[in-house]
Symmetry: C2
Subunit: 179 residues, 2 copies
DNA sequence: GGATACATGTAAGATGTTACATGATTGT
DNA sequence: ACAATCATGTAACATCTTACATGTATCC
């Protein structure tokens, strides 16, 4: 889950300029809690974004202590680029949190059509991966259910199936809203 | 997901003494592929386990190049201790992979009763967390479904519900096998 | 005025990534 | 002999964790 913290910060700052402390609080008090709120991760990440000129200290820096950041034009471009990356098999396996983060930011930053395109890709990648898992279990033997290793396998498979059901439902819902 | 690679290696070595290369291959060719097979992660991890005296080079080191490791008595104790740790809220949020890894190793290392105990804890922790999420969405407002952020929230919720269904089914199945 | 929350920061250490390097073994 | 695969390792870099440190604002 390489630099997704940086993009999470970027997306939140895009919604509303705010200080590192505010961002950290969101990582504790909202379901974005799989991001670390530790100062040792958030503040260095903000500094990296600042050095990269993706964010800038808000001009209205009347507050003495709080350092409020806003997203620059370059930062907006970087965010949009990230949001529009294709969905890969690796994303399915490693980057579920990152994928759903992208989904949450897509609509407000790139638009409904891009969101639908993302969902199509997500659905396709998920379905392909589920097929892969089924093939594996077929070769593995039919006694998947007999031992706990096989049950663990089913745990993973059923999780992906739930995700697939979600993508299908949401894609249809958003498509209908478009018309 | 701090040191779960080390425990994955330990558990696999417990199943069968083998070399780092064999372990890495399992991370590529089996659904344990969310572990990194890169030499830069696996070999240093094996060295750490060796330094800690949890594994030892297999005495029958007839092979010239391959370094086959086996689990020591101390390593078995460490593995069993790890497997029997209580299931926490943090595990649910951060350590799903680690939890399911523990499940897969529990039966063969600690026994069926310990596996059932684990499933009970898992189920309880999951149910509590799902309640927490529902409470959050209730306070958040009833219009969860209206925007993509709310849909992303549902994605997470439905994933946890699928996991809960799995724990219930598997717990019942294993309990029946016991009788 | 003292405790608590706000707000940012740094340092040490652990882990993982990518990329490179090196030799042994096997197949043709 | 040559290529491909086997098998291990290292170095540089990035990121995150834990713990500590520091000062400000607010509440009672």
């Amino acid at each position: 889950m390489a630099p997704s913290l940086e993009y999470a910060l970027l997306g939140l700052l895009r919604q509303k300029p705010q200080a590192g402390y505010d961002l950290r609080k969101q990582f504790v008090t909202t379901p974005m809690w799989h991001f670390s709120d530790s100062p040792g991760s958030v503040y260095p990440a903000l500094r990296r974004l600042h050095v990269r000129r993706w964010i800038a200290p808000s001009a209205s820096n009347g507050a003495r202590q709080r350092q409020v950041f806003r997203v620059t034009a370059a930062g907006r471009r970087a965010l949009v680029d990230w949001l529009q990356q294709p969905v890969t098999r690796d994303d399915i396996i490693w980057g579920q949190n990152e994928l759903i983060l992208r989904f949450a930011f897509l609509d407000e930053n790139v638009g409904r059509l891009a969101t639908l395109k993302f969902l199509e890709e997500f659905e396709r990648a998920l379905a392909a991966y589920i097929r892969e898992l089924r093939d594996f279990s077929a070769n593995f033997g039919p006694n998947i259910r007999s031992h706990t290793g096989g049950l663990a396998f089913l745990y993973g498979l059923e999780g992906y199936e739930a995700q697939l059901a979600w993508t299908r439902r949401v894609r249809q819902q958003l498509a209908e809203e478009l018309s």
